[in-house]
């Protein structure tokens, strides 16, 4: 047993981080938010989507014979964690899962979304929609970078349990993990810069302890997500999603708290993390269902 990243995995993670930081940095994130405000809906950067495709982001786990990179779920999880760190918008998971059977998905030429649960993201922008989306009505999405439609009650389009319980849930959890780690860094950075009462706020225990708990949540979720990627065990995936959802949502809230009034502004990125974390937590199986599945296996 050696539960640590290999050299190759580290290199892959660093490579994806460099690519994303170069191509979707904070300025790009804020520009996308502004554009979404102006247009009333989030635009998707097709060029970036194709660049991701060309870099192998969507085809990481496809066999080399099929033009893929031939890696496994653990590597995909590392890539999605990086996407979560920078809040990369778009139906990344649905497109990734479609890469094997929908032509053009792997290369990033075709954008795929899927109906999952009672919401569907990016319905208007997607080239291919999996699942039944009849009767979908547009919603004013809480997340400026994830347009949402609501599906009629009872008629949830369910593109298949594979997304909900399997790789889709795991990759969504990986994005949550990236976001949870990022908000921890943001909080710590702010706590080391902002002074009140004549000292840095990071020297106050109340602030310190918020930050410490953020790290604990992120690291516990990390162990769960990575292990689930290695074993692929459906119950472990369930658990990983629960813990990663919790880490992303609660860390974003704590990060907001550490930022004080600044945290409540549109200007700070904290709300973008929180809103996306909420959207991802709502994707796929509900927390209650996941808990029931875990309980049933006891």
């Amino acid at each position: 047993m050696d539960f640590q990243l290999t050299e190759d995995q580290r290199a892959l993670r660093d490579g994806v981080r460099d690519l994303l930081e170069g191509r979707f940095d904070r300025a790009a994130l804020r520009a996308a938010v502004d554009a979404s405000e102006r247009a009333g809906t989030a635009p998707l950067d097709r060029e970036l989507w194709r660049e991701l495709g060309a870099a192998g982001f969507f085809s990481l786990t496809l066999p080399e014979a099929e033009g893929g990179v031939g890696l496994g779920l653990p590597e995909a999880v590392l890539a999605f964690e990086e996407a979560g760190r920078v809040l990369l918008p778009g139906p990344l998971v649905a497109t990734f899962l479609a890469a094997g059977d929908i032509p053009g998905a792997a290369s990033g030429d075709v954008m795929v979304t899927s109906a999952d649960g009672s919401l569907v993201a990016w319905l208007d922008e997607a080239d291919v929609v999996r699942g039944d989306v009849s009767g979908a009505v547009p919603a004013r999405s809480v997340d400026p970078l994830t347009p949402l439609h609501r599906l009629p009650a009872g008629g949830s389009g369910a593109s298949g349990g594979a997304f909900r319980a399997g790789a889709g849930a795991l990759l969504t959890a990986a994005e949550q993990l990236g976001s949870a780690a990022r908000t921890t860094e943001m909080a710590v950075q702010y706590a080391r810069e902002r002074a009140q009462f004549g000292q840095l706020i990071g020297a106050f225990q109340a602030v310190k302890h918020l930050c410490a708990q953020m790290l604990v949540r992120a690291e516990t979720a990390r162990a769960a997500v990575y292990a689930a990627a290695v074993t692929g065990d459906p119950l472990e995936v369930c658990g990983a999603k629960l813990l990663a959802d919790d880490a992303a949502v609660r860390n974003a809230r704590d990060c907001l708290q550490v930022h004080g009034g600044m945290g409540f502004t549109w200007e700070a990125d904290v709300h973008l993390h929180l809103k996306r974390a909420w959207v991802r937590a709502g994707a796929g199986r509900s927390a209650g269902d996941a808990e029931e599945a875990l309980a049933a296996a006891l």
Binding site: M1, D2, F3, Q4, L5, T6, Q9, P74, T184, V188, A191, R192, Q199, L200, G202, A203, F204, Q205, V207, K208, H209, C211, A212, Q213, L215, V216, E219, T220, A221, R222, A223, A224, Y226, A227, A229, V230, T231, L235, E236, C238, G239, A240, L242, L243, G288, A290, E291, E292, A293, L294, A295, A296, A297, L298
Partner: protein, 387 residues
């Protein structure tokens, strides 16, 4: 990332589990949990069996009498012994998990030869004399004094919360060998001594825990003579030695218990199915989430152990992350157990009722949650030190 075990590790696991299956039925019935002398005898008997079978000090270095096993083998050992329902390290806790490893890494050849074999054989029990009435979380402010008198230290002061003091043969004792002054800050001037518990001048007064047991005690030291040769590490360098001890305490001490908690969770579910509580969806989901929690804690353990295998040696600050999360999860587990039991949870005859009480110590002993959060914030996250 690789969660599979090597053929060698599998083989080790198989041999161990065969030995456990053969040996456990031969054990005498466990003592009453409140009977400390009885527990000492029982725990030491178990240690002796481990010793005879070659499993004692598995993770200790070979030149300290250990087996030099890898951290992964140690993990397998903890997993298998717990799964099989083997006794806990119990009264041997301090000797095996922190005094021993500290002497193994910081002690002289003679010190290792004197103290380590009896710990491994289960002949001698150690206790930890760190905390004092006015020095708990702020351990470095300890005041117990040691004067040099020829080749002895003369020690006076008092210690508190000393687990197993009633039944211990040796105490890892922190003393102040140079008074605090402008030139000697409180973290300097401390030394680490091995004190024989039968030395004249030691009074042990058991304290009753909220669980009703006398698992820890107050210790009064009145001019106790301890040979200078019993000092581990240099004079006044005890704080550094102590940090080695504490990293062991936090790094590995709770690992096996996570496996136990997962087992208890399964028992909770079975009990709830029997008594009808399983029909309560809120409770069911709570157990489901706890299952995710303990699953993750087990993976976190594997992560930390793998990391220490790479960095070689003393467990890192990851132990604080683990301890914070685990101590709270354990308390939640036994609160859930109380919900499963209903009024039965108030009957001390049920083992879960006692375990629920003892779980309350987890966020306090071995560094409180507040102190652990300071450690994580300052040493991992690099936040400024507060006053």
């Amino acid at each position: 990332m690789d969660l599979t075990y090597t053929a060698e590790e599998d083989e080790f696991r198989a041999r161990l589990s065969r030995w456990l299956a053969r040996t456990l039925p031969e054990l005498p019935p466990p003592p009453d949990p409140l009977d400390w002398p009885g527990r000492r005898a029982y725990d030491m008997g178990w240690q002796r069996r481990l010793y005879d079978a070659g499993y004692a000090g598995l993770h200790w270095p070979v030149d300290a009498g250990g087996r030099g096993a890898t951290p992964t083998q140690h993990l397998i050992y903890l997993e298998e012994t717990e799964k099989a329902g083997a006794p806990y390290v119990g009264a041997n806790f301090v000797g095996l998990l922190h005094a021993g490893p500290t002497i193994a890494s910081e002690g002289s050849a003679e010190q290792r030869a004197r103290w380590l074999p009896p710990v491994l054989r289960g002949d001698e029990v150690w206790c930890q004399g760190f905390s004092e009435p006015d020095a708990g979380s702020d351990l470095a402010s300890l005041r117990t004094r040691a004067w040099r008198d020829g080749d002895h230290y003369v020690v006076s002061g008092s210690k508190i919360w000393t687990s197993h003091a009633e039944v211990a043969d040796w105490c890892e004792l922190l003393v102040r060998t140079t008074p605090v002054s402008e030139s000697v800050p409180k973290h300097r001037g401390i030394s680490w001594l091995a004190m024989p518990m039968d030395a004249p001048g030691i009074t042990v007064r058991p304290l009753r825990t909220l669980a009703g047991s006398t698992e820890f005690a107050e210790m009064f030291l009145d001019e106790v003579r301890v040979p200078v040769a019993n000092r581990v590490g240099d004079e006044n360098d005890g704080w550094r030695v102590t940090m080695v001890t504490l990293s062991y305490e936090r790094g590995t001490a709770f690992v096996g218990e996570v496996v136990a908690c997962r087992r208890v969770l399964g028992e909770l579910a079975r009990e709830a199915s029997k008594n009808g509580r399983w029909d309560d969806a809120v409770l069911r989901r709570r157990l489901g989430r706890l299952s995710a929690e303990f699953g993750a804690l087990w993976r976190l353990t594997q992560w930390n152990v793998s990391e220490s295998q790479h960095t070689g040696g003393v467990p890192g600050v990851g132990g604080s992350v683990f301890k914070l999360r685990y101590s709270h999860a354990r308390q939640e587990l036994y609160d859930a157990a109380a919900d499963v039991l209903g009024p039965g949870a108030l009957d001390l005859g049920h083992p879960w009722a006692l375990d629920r009480l003892s779980s309350l110590s987890y966020t306090i002993a071995a560094g409180t949650s507040q102190i652990q959060q300071n450690i994580v914030a300052e040493r991992i996250l690099g936040l400024p030190k507060g006053r």
